[in-house]
């Protein structure tokens, strides 16, 4: 056998382990024979390569060889895997789309407890349907069945994403006034609301600024999270978020400073 580097050996062991796992359920296939085919193929492919063979070189060979799952004949796959295979390679399939919409409708018809659970289930099925369509936006008529649960979950996710600091700050705001009044000598005419709003806006601004920086470095995060609606997201949008965040932060900190210097005097 050709000498492999430690990482390459690990990759090969993992590939063989996965193939053996898949083959456990296949009665007509000799796992030993498959393993021999794999090692023989790799050995032939890597003949003449500089030793020890690197993990990258082996990965190229394994990629050409295909997934470990393919060593199981299609007729011996378990029913659920055949089902997924048919979904992926069969003719236009609407089952996932109908299932998604059905779960959402049942969720609305049943109790309040079932609504979030079934909406989440419908969301997962919708994402699976999108995945089966290779994440193409043009799922045509299927979108009427797939999109409702996606939109509901994405809206909740988007609100939480953009307003995360508010979730933590709003409950605290009720206590702040007592704390501030105990620490500072302020009159009744003091615009407490201005200070509170400035803190909220500054938090939001800082949060958007951080998000802008993260999305600028990794523009794929929103694309993956909000697929397929954020497919057009790019660094320009991240820059807009960053600039808006920065402007909010500067503006709110300036008004906070103004309110502090004008109305607040330590006791």
């Amino acid at each position: 056998m050709v000498k492999l580097s430690d990482n390459a050996q690990k990759s090969l062991d993992e590939y063989l382990h996965q193939a053996r796992t898949y083959l456990r359920s296949a009665k007509s296939v000799d796992a030993g024979e498959v393993e021999q085919n794999i090692t023989e193929h790799i050995e032939n492919e890597l003949e003449g390569a500089a030793e020890p063979v690197s993990a990258d070189e082996l990965e190229t060979v394994l990629k050409k060889l295909g997934s470990p799952q393919q060593w199981v004949p299609e007729e011996e796959l378990p029913w659920w895997r055949k089902f997924i295979l048919r979904l992926r390679t069969g003719p236009e399939d609407w089952r996932l789309a109908y299932l998604s919409f059905g779960l959402l409708v049942v969720g609305f018809m049943l109790s309040r407890l079932s609504l979030p659970l079934l909406t989440l289930a419908s969301f997962v099925v919708s994402r699976a349907a999108l995945s089966a369509n290779n994440y193409r936006i043009e799922v045509k008529a299927q979108k009427w069945l797939i999109y409702p649960s996606l939109i509901i979950v994405y809206l909740v996710l988007l609100c939480s994403f953009l307003g995360l600091p508010l979730l933590g700050l709003i409950p605290l705001a009720y206590d702040w006034e007592h704390i501030i009044r105990a620490s500072y000598k302020i009159g009744d005419d003091t615009p407490y609301w201005l200070a509170a709003c400035s803190v909220f806006v500054a938090s939001i601004g800082l949060w958007w600024l951080i998000q802008g920086v993260v999305f600028l470095a990794r523009p794929n995060i929103p694309k993956v999270l909000f697929r397929p609606f954020a497919d057009g997201f790019n660094r320009r949008w991240a820059l807009v978020l960053l600039c808006v965040g920065f402007a909010l932060l500067v503006f709110s900190l300036a008004s906070l400073y103004w309110a502090y210097s004008r109305y607040f005097q330590p006791i």
């Binding site: 296939v29 193929h41 295909g66 060593w71």
Partner: protein, 112 residues
């Protein structure tokens, strides 16, 4: 959607064609697994992942279309060589005839 349709169509077509090509590759000769892969590698559109060829060879053997012989190799462990059985040769001949009819018919339609 059009791409998906094309992908599905190509997958269905590949399934049947790969068996025909494997049988044709070993017709009149005996080859070991990797040699067959190398021969079929030229058909880029047909062989998406090379590992799909070995399970097909095993199935053809189980169904009696090919037989194997183990031969010593100077380059490593003994190798398993595949060759057509009589049943395989007869079936391949009928498969080639069938494919020729399909191709002629399809070409004729294309030319109409």
């Amino acid at each position: 959607m059009e791409n998906q349709f094309l992908d599905n169509w190509a997958t269905q077509l590949r399934k049947g064609m790969l068996e025909l090509c494997i049988l044709n590759a070993i017709k009149g000769t005996s080859l070991y697994g990797y040699d067959i892969v190398r021969k079929l590698r030229k058909l880029n559109a047909l062989v998406i992942s090379e590992g799909t060829i070995y399970p097909i060879l095993s199935r053809l053997k189980r169904e009696g279309f090919v037989q194997t012989t183990i031969r010593e190799s100077t380059e490593g462990p003994p190798r398993k060589y595949y060759e057509l059985t009589q049943k395989g040769e007869q079936t391949l001949s009928r498969m080639n005839d069938y494919w020729r009819d399909v191709k002629t018919g399809a070409d004729a339609l294309k030319g109409e």
